[in-house]
Each structure stands twice: as C-alpha cells, then as structure tokens.
Symmetry: C2
Subunit: 299 residues, 2 copies
C-alpha cells in the first residue's frame, strides 16, 4: 500500500465518540471527539458515518475500525445488544459500509483494546494473554494460541463471575459478581456504606490508602475479589500474561502489586502469569480500532 494511505479509528461510547485519522505507524494524524448523538435513547449510527467521512475527506482512506460496547458479533459486525447506546440487533458494519464506502470492521470495545495491548502494548508477543479493563464495568479479552477469542460475542464476562456468593446484588441480577466489589463505582459505594462519608471515586479511595483503614479495607476487598476471578480465569485459560487496564488501574502499583501477590499465592500447578499494567491507557480502543482498520483494508 502507498505510504500516504490512512485508516479511520472510531471508539464509540455511551457518553462520547472518539475518532481519529491514523497512519500506517498507528499515529493519530487528526482526532475528533463528540458527545454521542441520540434520538431518544437510541444512539445515531449516522454520526459514526459522518465522523469517518469527515476525517477521511481529502485523504486516501483504505479502511476503518469501530469499537463498540455491549454484546457484539465481531464476525458479522452485528451489535446484538448495547444497553448504553440503546441498540438491539444493529447491523453496524453493513450500515456503515453503505454510508461511507470504506471497508470496515466492528468489534467489541474490550476485545478491540485487547487486540491493541496484545499487538503493540503490554501483552505484545505473548500468544496466550488476557486483558482485563477495570472501569465502570469489568470484562476480559483473551488471546489463546495467538487469536483473540469470542467473536460470537458471548465470551469474556469476567465481571460477572461470582466471587462472593450471597453478596450484593449485581445489575445482572446475580449476587456477589466481581463488579459488585471491584468495578469503579463499587469503591465509592462501599466506602460510603462503611464510613457514612462520601468519596467521589476509586481514585479517591486510592488516595486515602496510606492514612485511612477503611479505605484500605475497601481496597483489599476489591483486590481479593479480582484475585479470585483471575484465579478462575488462569485455571481455565492458562495465560502467560495478564494486562490490567481501565480507570481503576490508573492507581498503578497500588493495585497491581497486591493483586499480583495475591493471585500468585493462590495458584498451585497452574502456569504463573505475569501481571502488568496496560501500556496504552485510554488509547487502547483507538489503537485497536486502527489495527482493525488496517485489517479491513487488507481483506
């Protein structure tokens, strides 16, 4: 391909949509960010097409990649359910290709971030790797034998492993899911329940770790819950490296170090994985979408 070819990478969220024109070295030449446009509850597919067309104007755009939250069939490019976009059975790939005339791939946002971390990030070069962003929700992308699993859209829901049977009720209806103890909102909620004091978020709890035993207890419960879930995932998948991302991982070694120690202590015969922080941070979705764009261009 010619050196001046580009792809468009789009990371679709419930609050905003981030898009970028990306060159062959995965550099963002131009970026755009807009609030997600809606008709009632339903996010507007046309906005994504407009972003692709606007960024591509005047450039040789040979492909595009789009990362979407929810239950996504990557192979069909079909969004089965995306609660915070109001989408059900949206044939996103077909609609966007029709509206942009650009070859395009659609993928679940966590698997897109995983693709980026496994290809150019913290999991680079590991055939068996796992990427777990810990944010508003918790999910995992798993690469086994060099392929990211779960194109049918149903795999990787590690946030809904039961780690505390009989515990708090999760949004999914079950009790004691990992998300009830370790997703970002759980930190502030559990700290408030424990102390009666309000705190804004997980970073707020992290900031109190050196001085406040209640913050330490909330943090410890989250680390133990994450270790319980990862122990199960390691037993079933056997990754050589686990990459932790998402907003809660912004705490860095305050999260990674005790989680690594607790997980490794629990493993017996299982392969002992490296546990590391994600390398790409908030850019994982965009970088992964750009990689998809180059895949779409080739196919």
């Amino acid at each position: 391909m010619a050196a001046d070819q580009h792809v468009v990478a789009v990371d679709v969220g419930g609050t905003s949509i981030k898009a970028a024109l990306v060159d062959r070295d995965l550099r963002a030449v131009e970026t755009l960010r807009e609030p997600t446009r809606r008709t009632g509850e339903v996010a507007d597919v046309g906005q994504i097409a407009e972003l692709v067309n606007r960024l591509g104007a005047g450039h040789d755009v040979v492909g595009a990649g789009v990362a979407v939250p929810g239950v996504v069939d990557d192979e069909l490019g079909l969004v089965r359910t995306a609660v915070n976009l109001g989408w059900h059975d949206v044939p996103l790939r077909a609609e966007l290709e029709a509206a942009t005339s650009v070859p395009l791939l659609v993928r679940h946002d966590v698997r897109t971030g995983g693709l980026a971390e496994f290809t150019v990030g913290a999991g680079k070069g590991a055939p068996d790797a796992m990427f777990m962003p810990v944010g508003t929700g918790i999910a995992a992308a798993v690469q086994v034998d060099g392929s990211v699993l779960g194109a049918s859209g149903y795999a990787g829901e590690i946030g809904h492993l039961i780690v505390d049977p009989g515990g708090a009720t999760c949004g999914c209806g079950a009790r004691g899911c990992l998300e009830t103890l370790a997703a970002a909102p759980a930190f502030a909620r559990r700290y408030a329940e424990r102390t009666g004091r309000t705190i804004t978020d997980a970073a707020g709890v992290a900031g109190l770790l050196s001085t406040d035993p209640d913050a330490r207890a909330v943090w410890r419960d989250a680390v133990d819950a994450l270790a319980t879930a990862l122990q199960a995932a390691v037993t079933l998948f056997g990754p050589s490296i686990i990459v932790i991302g998402g907003g809660v991982a912004e705490a860095g070694e305050a999260l990674i170090a005790p989680l690594r120690e607790e997980l490794l202590n629990r493993l017996q015969f299982q392969r002992k994985p490296e546990v590391v922080r994600a390398a790409l941070g908030q850019d994982a979705g965009r970088v992964g979408a750009a990689l998809l764009g180059w895949q779409a261009a080739k196919s």
Copy 2:
C-alpha cells in the same frame, strides 16, 4: 488419497494403551489393547511405536494420532508432565516419528476427546462448544470460533476451579476444587464419610438415588459443584453447547437433567447453552486420535 489408506489412533492411559487401525470413515478396522509397559515408574515410549508399527504392517498408513494425559504442548508434540506415565518433558512426537516414519500428531487426551465430540459427536457443528469429561479427574476442552483452545497445554483445568472455599484439600494443594466434590472418587469417599458405609464408585451412589437420602445428598452436592464451575466457564467462554462425558456421565439423565436445570437457573444475561451427554463414550479418545492421524496425513 486412495480409498485403502489408513491411520493409526492411539489412546495412552496410565493403566492401558488402546490403539486402532482406522479407515477414512473413522471405522476401527482392527483394535489392540495392552497394559501400559513401564520401566520403574516411567512408561515406555517404545511400546507406542511398536503398536503403530504392528497395526500398520501390510497397510498403507499415512498418519497417526496419539492422545496423552497430563500437560501437553500440542503444537510441539511435547509432553511437559504426565504424572501417571512418569513423564517430564518427553518430545513424544519427534520420538515416535523417528521410530515409525509415520507423520504424527500428539494431543492432550481431553482435547482429543473434545475434537471428536466437536467434529462427529454431540457438539458437531457448534463453533463454540465445551466438552467436560467427569471421571477420575475433571477437565475441559473448549472450542471457540471453531478451534479447540489451549494448544500450549495450560488451559481447561476446570476440575481445579474453587467451588467450595475452605472445603476438602485437593491433590493440587488448594482447598475446595471441583474435583473434591464431583470427580468419580469423591462420590464413594463422601458417601463413606457421611454414612460409614463403603460403596465402590459413583455408579454405586447413582444406583441408590431412588432409595437413599445420603446418596441423594452426595449426588446433589456434586451436581451443585458442577453447576458452579460450569456457571463460571459459561461466563468466560460463552459456549452454545456443553457436552458431558467421562465415567460419571454413564449415569445419563440422573446427572445431566439436574445439572442442566441448576446451571440454567443460575445464568442471567449469559447465553444459555444446551447441556447434553457425550455421544462417543469411551471411544472419544480413539476417534479424536484418528482425526489427528488424518490431519497429520494432510499436513
């Protein structure tokens, strides 16, 4: 290939080795079974080569497949550890190809059985499927996007998911693994602990289900433990079908029906899988090894 070509399928166990000459329709034309030959604790690789050569004599043998228990790197054909064969880092594929001059593939026994069930057995046609033999141990083979996972040898250890934290100590060193409640030996052990009465095996417990509340309690605990482990596996893998095999599944619907009900009751947003009994029974390893033999012949 010519219609008279054959492959040799070998299923290596700690007690005996089963081998067969198999035609293109996966029919066993001739079978052999021998006690596993050992030097001290170490099983003799030469016996496997002899079986391949003996069955192949006078036939056009174009490939062979060998199923082995333990931690097996399928891609390298390397047995990392097989406790009940006394093997550590045995380059089985290379040694057998040198001794037989037949193209050959080596695979973990459960993944070999899974390959058979996913290709011609109860999971036929399902791109996302799971095979879980419940016998002396419990492990799983998982197919995602049409490929059986875990060629590096570390995946699928569902028997060592913790389903009863603080429960009985497992052979692996952890407490409360699935195997402590639901592997074949656990049925007789738990029945004896509960009643002081000796019973030979899981089939013995199954035979008492209609008359003996203690047998029912032991059975129920095993079903609940299996459901807990499968709930986690479904959340992480999202299979559309779960195929239950191994000796304990010989109980048929006495196991499958309550397990199916308990698992489906626990799932929330997850894809609801079919839960069925394996179709190939004790032949799964041999059929899978034959499929590997035909793969080796093609490659």
